[in-house]
Symmetry: C2
Subunit: 466 residues, 2 copies
């Protein structure tokens, strides 16, 4: 097992192929982003055709840099990379992140040959490669990034991601939902360091409490063993690309990977207790549960909201995803009448309460508390559909309704989540969902809430039984 | 069969239970909304405790109104309704929309008795009831509405909806996605007029080209026959509430309905060619296809976008939902190289093109045209993920990219759709999606696009085979 900790602590980074155009994507993604992110080490720009970029002196080549270079970001055309990799070995570089594409994923003999060549040079020289055809490393605790919009705030989720685009989507949309990351690695074609190495790293990384991965293909037999150890140690969530026949071909064109059999993949994940997801939305839904939700003791869910149709749908979604929506006994229903009128409502669970209850902050808090303390359920799913007439026509009340729910989540020691509907920007849906910073798990549909919470409970319970 | 056309053409509406408080929900939903919506008939407000509301004279009771009243909106407490229904009969009212709740859905003997009583009075008097526990009728072509935010623009979709909240969500979120409605009926407990009556009406209504329904329970054996006729005549999309055991109980509490067996329901829908959906999102996704997409001749889909992970996902989603993603022959790939560089891209379908192609309006148009005219596919799915670095960091280009796609959709006679990702309001996602008014079908996830388009093609094809 390689100790990869040094990948996240380079004392210096050289960007080879930094563009003379300050607005060029390479500069914005790497140079500008690293500067803004407060990277503590040295940043060297290599470009033989100019003397300065973004106020930084440039170097004609690596050898011109007097000080040691730990990490190189490579953004030059593929045919030029073997020469650069040689120079990196000579310079004593520890790792090269190869942003450059045009290797095995092209499907051409030349591309495959080039990829083999750079790996051979690196291995002979005792140097590691990330990529090619990737974004590299995001590590907020050590001020490394590959984009200016990724949060500087650290969190508990470690991401290994074979697609650069998906890694952006996971981090940026994750940040918007209150999910923060220990490290993320976009590793592209995985010619040298690969999914097994990164998974092994995250398994022992103390900063990482949950592992999320997007994987297109797996190299070598060690993976299953490492995945088993990872899943024994932490929750592991995997989104696998290339499930279908045409998807398998798309995977080959994207990262030159061999997707493998879906059946085998599914059975391995099931056996090892790995959570499979089928989209980034679903991955984020699960990460919201794992990072923000209190752990329910069981699968019994209380449902509270306004709107009969939605109460029926919430019930159907919860039950069809394996949660239980128990009918409330008369005693509990009687208690709920103290904060809810009986006409136009239903108190038997789902609790389809009145809009007046949601407008009245005390009544809403009381209803939440009554259900939470009842011992009839293990968690509470609240839904708030701001498209409904009351929430839309009197929208000034929505923010205080949201605040009561946040407050209840903070002060009552009970697992709860909010389905905030719908997601489109429509009349009245101008709530400040920075409230998610307050630790309230928020979902954007009833089905995604039910599905994520059910998978969350299932994994937690199976871990508890072991 | 009752001819229900008159329901949508009342010469006058009386709102019984109009509140003295001008900001009260009843006034905002009915009085204010009808005034704003340009209702051409007379509006009478009935409230014995005041003389004027929102500038309109009020009446102590119906008999005080000298002119005929065609429609009554009832918003008084349930125990008072039998007396009102009698007065309506005396007055010669044709239909009463009963907004009031507190009937059979309460589960109490008194609630059930009250509901039976008002139905008996109405039937004896030859008058029809909608509801109780419902919103009533939205009919933009005759300026009827039950909310101030529903679009005055008419369209081709007829909606019958057993939940008032769901009906708001369908109309308002539908409007935001370029879907417009012929009529929508929120019919609650369906004590008198019910799903069968409304489905029969929409089957013969010329303004309605597609029928969408949310149904919790079905009354009487005539329904299956009417549904068969409806599905033979027009596309019918149904979202059924109460699929699970607890959902069945929730349905009883919501509208007093009997949900029935899910197995029987599924088999009836399958036999009759009715499209089943499981959420309003999915219903809207399908309506986007039916109202905005050209009809594909087959199931072969071309995929075009930027981002390898997304291209793999789009392929997996399309294939797993029953579409076919054929590999492009070398000849077509060669043509595509004219508008796409070959490094960091894949041209074999999915076409994972360069960000430069999406920034270059001519190259993008050319790529779309080349695929559309190739005879290799029957439709084109384009994806644009504005969270990706290029689209996010150079966001001024996104609007022109979107405009090219709109233009291509308008000028090339070829079925296409756009997956615009992601939905959350994040950096860079500030596109003016009013472009949907231009008839471009837009989806907010790859899976929803693939699922809706596949179901759309399946129904169209089966209709074609008959």
């Amino acid at each position: 097992m390689a100790d990869l900790e040094y990948l996240f602590h380079p004392r210096s980074v050289a960007i080879v192929g930094a563009s003379r155009d300050p607005h060029h994507l390479t500069n914005r993604l790497f140079t500008e982003a690293l500067l803004n992110f407060g990277f503590k080490g040295k940043i060297y720009l290599v470009n033989p055709k100019t003397s300065e970029i973004l106020g930084l002196k440039t170097y004609a080549n690596l050898q011109e840099i007097a000080e040691p270079v730990d990490c190189v970001l490579c953004s030059i055309p593929a045919p030029l990379t073997p020469q650069l990799i040689k120079e990196c070995v000579t310079k004593g570089v520890k790792v090269v992140n190869i942003f450059t594409a045009g290797f095995s994923e092209t499907g051409t003999e030349e591309g495959k040959r080039l990829e083999r060549e750079i790996v051979e040079i690196a291995r002979r020289g005792g140097m590691r490669l990330i990529g090619p055809n990737c974004m590299g490393i995001y590590s907020p605790s050590t001020n490394l990034t590959y984009d200016i919009d990724l949060s500087p705030k650290s969190g508990s989720v470690g991401v290994l991601c074979q697609s650069g685009g998906h890694s952006y989507e996971i981090i940026i949309r994750g940040n918007a939902r209150g999910i923060y990351f220990s490290k993320a690695i976009s590793y592209g074609n995985a010619a040298d360091l690969n999914e097994t190495d990164f998974l092994e790293y995250f398994t022992q990384d103390e900063e990482t409490k949950i592992i999320a991965a997007y994987i297109e293909g797996v190299r070598g037999k060690r993976f299953a063993k490492v995945l088993a150890e990872a899943a024994r140690t932490k929750p592991v969530i995997i989104f696998k690309g290339g499930r279908t026949e045409a998807g398998t071909k798309a995977v080959a064109s994207h990262t030159g990977s061999i997707a493998g059999s879906e059946l085998i993949w599914n059975s391995v994940c099931r056996q090892l207790g790995v959570i499979q997801v089928y989209s980034i939305d679903e991955m984020l839904d699960l990460l919201v549960a794992f990072t923000q939700m209190r752990i329910p003791k069981g699968r019994r869910v209380g449902i509270l909201g306004v709107g009969g149709g939605a109460s029926v749908q919430a019930t159907d979604e919860c039950e069809s995803h394996g949660l239980i929506v128990p009918r409330f006994p008369m005693e509990l229903r009687d208690k709920l009448t103290k904060s809810t009128p009986q006409v136009g409502t239903s108190l038997s669970n789902p609790v389809d309460t009145s809009i007046g209850t949601f407008w009245n902050t005390e009544a809403l808090f009381e209803s939440i508390k009554t259900i939470s303390y009842s011992n009839e359920v293990d968690l509470l799913l609240i839904y708030l559909n701001v498209v409904y007439a009351g929430f839309r026509l009197y929208k000034e009340t929505n923010q205080s309704t949201l605040e009561v729910i946040v407050k209840a989540n903070q002060s009552l020691d009970f697992p709860m989540a909010l389905a905030l509907l719908p997601t489109e920007k429509i009349v009245g849906n101008e709530l400040r969902v920075e409230e998610i910073e307050a630790g309230l798990p928020i979902y954007y549909s009833l089905s995604s809430a039910a599905q994520a919470i059910s998978k969350f409970i299932k994994l937690i319970n199976s871990a508890r039984e072991e």
